[in-house]
């Protein structure tokens, strides 16, 4: 009986999902309600979770609920703590959710919502969630060790070192692109700049409060901080209206860049309790709250999607980022479908707290489905905006000019309806003096969110508040990432440099850590500055580099997973990771190759460099350069970016070679050769617990 009900239930579920897809597919040319996207998405996730992740858990990995987990083995009540799976799910999700899944889909919307949506669904089910789940499993079976260690022990010392080296460059690019998003959102926006600047004194106050006034009262201090943040948003409006104050907080992109670089340096050498920790409380809770709010808003308001399913830009001629659907859509979406960075989290704190191996399915696979849902939400937010306004916000000034009239003219030629009034009206609705070329995704998401949230609370008069709330929410967790990332990068660098210069390894030495911090900040600062002055908006260059590096890490993680499956002698099921690994590898390598060699100067770095070289030879100066010296700088940037792309390719290919070697060796052996921690029985009371 129960099996019949279950079958019936799943049939109904599948039918509902199919109907939702039919609605989406058949309503071509007419706007559809976002609710259909949500239904289709949730059905796909549920079916994938119920069947595919179950298949992976029981057949591919053969999770063993009686097997010892690191949390029990090393239980210390601190790092290793057996934790309830729902509690741990929240922790894991908060760690993997960041700006990436929000920005990628927004940029991808230039091809219409359909390509992005399809890849978000297919990618997460067959690649992203699989990677997170299996890496979590691998780490859990190996005492909760880190990705670098896992690669070293399963594939070899050298690929482990290569992967660590690659990770450092990913950090630099990641920090640069995140900082660029903040710069793009805050440039010439006194309201936004004031609220974000106000988070610094607020966080300092919270830090002192939680350390000395009421030690350890996280909830209380976060609540106080939240109230102060809301006041800062309201205060920002007054700042904007008082000319003297407005002038103080109206900064150009370049000024913001220098401020951010300085901030990154100072913040990452301050004691953690003073600025980083309290800011992390605010950004984490605000992030979770906003995601929930956005989901609720999309479901209840069910706004109409105004973006067509496909635009003509699938051919690669789009203004937001250049390159054709294959491979660049997959590189652009990145995190919401498959994110290499997650393999660092799945082999970080989570495996040390997992109570039972069986929970890895819910936490690893489940949390990634949720992350993908966040990405779908971002795609919806970008698609409910008038396409004309979307393109006005996301096209670089070099293409659409900097006035409402020039933008209207350019965008109308692409066939999207827009008037100068629509552009200025949107700007005044959200309390900004312009929205043209606010690239980077954050402002677009903020406009979309403001439209949705103002439908729930406050109406049109609250739109400006919600817009700045959304900007603040993104800037807050990006700044936390910049701060924490610079710290992490500093330690990584000290570790790497320490191999050659032993004195650099001393993390307690002030000189060594200041030098390493300065190198890190200079590293991401270089890419940030280059992005800010780029007339094509910077995102055009940096986001693909970021996407490539992130997918490269995903490729490495999937190669590791494949190697381990073969070493476990589960060859029959290795296709589960081989299939996504091949896809990720093909996309990443093709994209990197095109970024280096493509004949279109908007795509290929070398072609772009040659264009500038020819101009230099003719004695001409091309924007953004204002002198021949700056022309040389642009050419140098191109070579740096091309080398970086080549480096990413090299890292990926060499890890692939080591991966294939490990697989061949494993196949030649008659017995399993995976280096798991020896089998031990889980304490009885833990094995029987299901919650």
């Amino acid at each position: 009986m129960s099996s019949l009900t279950s079958k019936l239930g799943w049939t109904v579920f599948a039918t509902v999902g199919a109907v939702a897809f039919a609605v989406i597919a058949l309503q071509r040319g007419e706007p559809i309600g976002a609710i259909w996207i949500v239904i289709a998405t949730v059905c796909v996730y549920t079916i994938a979770y119920r069947f595919y992740s179950q298949f992976i858990a029981s057949r591919v990995l053969r999770l063993d609920p009686t097997r010892m987990t690191p949390a029990y083995k090393f239980n210390d009540g601190l790092d290793y703590v057996p934790t309830n799976k729902y509690v741990l799910f929240g922790h894991h999700f908060a760690a993997i959710a960041g700006a990436g899944p929000l920005v990628g889909p927004i940029l991808a919307a230039q091809m219409g919502y359909m390509p992005g949506m399809l890849w978000l669904l297919a990618g997460v089910v067959f690649a992203g969630a699989v990677q997170d789940f299996i890496v979590l499993f691998i780490s859990t079976r190996r005492d909760g060790r880190s990705l670098g260690d896992l690669i070293k022990s399963e594939l070899g010392q050298i690929p482990g070192m290569i992967a660590l080296f690659g990770t450092f460059f990913i950090m630099l690019i990641l920090l640069a692109v995140l900082a660029l998003i903040v710069v793009k959102a805050l440039a010439e926006s006194p309201w936004g700049t004031f609220t974000v600047a106000a988070t610094i004194p607020i966080a300092l106050f919270m830090g002192v409060y939680a350390r000395y006034l009421r030690p350890g009262s996280i909830g209380e201090v976060s609540l106080i901080g939240f109230v102060l943040l809301m006041l800062a948003i309201v205060g920002g409006q007054y700042v904007q209206e008082i000319p003297a104050l407005a002038a103080l907080f109206t900064l150009t992109g370049e000024q913001l860049t220098w401020l951010l670089v300085g901030y990154g340096f100072i913040a990452s050498v301050l004691p953690v309790w003073l600025l980083l920790a309290p800011r992390d409380y605010l950004s984490t809770f605000l992030k979770i709250g906003t995601i929930v709010g956005l989901a609720v808003g999309v479901i209840f308001v069910s706004p109409e999607l105004k973006m067509p399913a496909f635009t003509q830009f699938v051919d690669g001629s789009g203004p937001v980022w250049s390159g054709s659907l294959f491979p660049f859509l997959f590189i652009t979406i990145a995190c919401g479908a498959v994110s290499g960075f997650h393999s660092l989290i799945s082999s970080g704190t989570t495996p040390k707290m997992i109570r039972n191996e069986r929970d890895a399915r819910f936490i690893g696979y489940g949390a990634m489905l949720m992350e993908s849902f966040v990405a779908v939400m971002a795609l919806v937010a970008a698609s409910i905006i008038e396409p004309g306004v979307y393109f006005a916000m996301n096209s670089p000034a070099a293409i659409i000019g900097s006035t409402a009239e020039s933008a209207t003219q350019a965008i109308s030629q692409w066939g999207f309806y827009v008037t100068p009034e629509m552009i200025t009206q949107t700007a005044s609705d959200v309390g900004e003096h312009t929205i043209i070329s606010r690239t980077g995704g954050a402002p677009t998401l903020a406009v979309g969110m403001a439209q949705i949230l103002s439908n729930v609370v406050g109406g049109r008069s609250m739109m400006a508040f919600w817009y700045h709330f959304a900007i603040l929410f993104e800037a807050l967790f990006i700044l936390t990432a910049v701060d924490a990332g610079t710290r992490a990068g500093r330690f990584m660098l000290q570790d790497l440099l320490g191999t050659f210069i032993p004195s650099m390894k001393r993390t307690d030495s002030l000189v060594a850590s200041l030098i390493a911090t300065a190198i890190c900040v200079a590293g991401w600062g270089y890419f940030l500055y280059q992005g800010v002055v780029d007339p094509l908006g910077g995102i055009n260059t940096l986001w693909p580099l970021f996407g490539i590096s992130n997918q490269m890490l995903a490729g490495i993680a999937l190669i590791l997973c494949t190697g381990v499956l073969f070493k476990m002698k589960h060859d029959r099921f290795a296709w589960v990771t081989i299939m996504p690994a091949i896809w990720v590898l093909v996309c990443t390598l093709t994209a990197a190759w095109q970024k280096i060699f493509d004949a279109n100067p908007r795509i290929g770095f070398l072609t772009h460099a040659n264009k500038y070289k020819e101009a230099v030879a003719d004695g001409m100066v091309l924007a953004p350069a204002k002198s021949l010296g700056q022309m040389q700088q642009v050419i140098l940037n191109d070579y740096v970016n091309a080398s970086l792309s080549a480096l990413f390719m090299l890292v990926l290919i060499s890890v692939l070679v080591f991966g294939v070697r490990a697989v061949l060796r494993a196949r030649a052996l008659g017995a399993p050769s995976a280096k798991e921690a020896p089998f031990e029985l889980l304490p009885v009371e833990a094995a029987s617990r299901t919650g």
């Binding site: 009540g77 929240g90 030690p215 809770f285 995190c335 989290i345």
Partner: protein, 66 residues
């Protein structure tokens, strides 16, 4: 029903604290009492500081994502 809601609230609180790197203090105290009797147990304040250092000051540990 009420106990269920109370439990959900407790889990939610635990999960929120764990999101910022602070596991359950009472679990830590229980653990120390049970398995290391006689050894000094950190006060909540010390425990909080120790966890803060471990989360943010740790050796290149990446605790968040893009």
């Amino acid at each position: 029903m009420l106990t269920k809601i109370a439990r959900m609230r407790r889990y939610l609180g635990q999960s929120m604290r764990l999101m910022v790197g602070v596991p359950e203090y009472s679990t830590y105290v229980d653990h120390m009492r049970r398995t290391h009797p006689g050894q000094p147990v950190m006060s909540y304040e010390e425990f909080f500081r120790e966890r803060q250092e471990a989360r943010y000051g740790g050796k290149g540990k990446i605790t968040r994502c893009c």
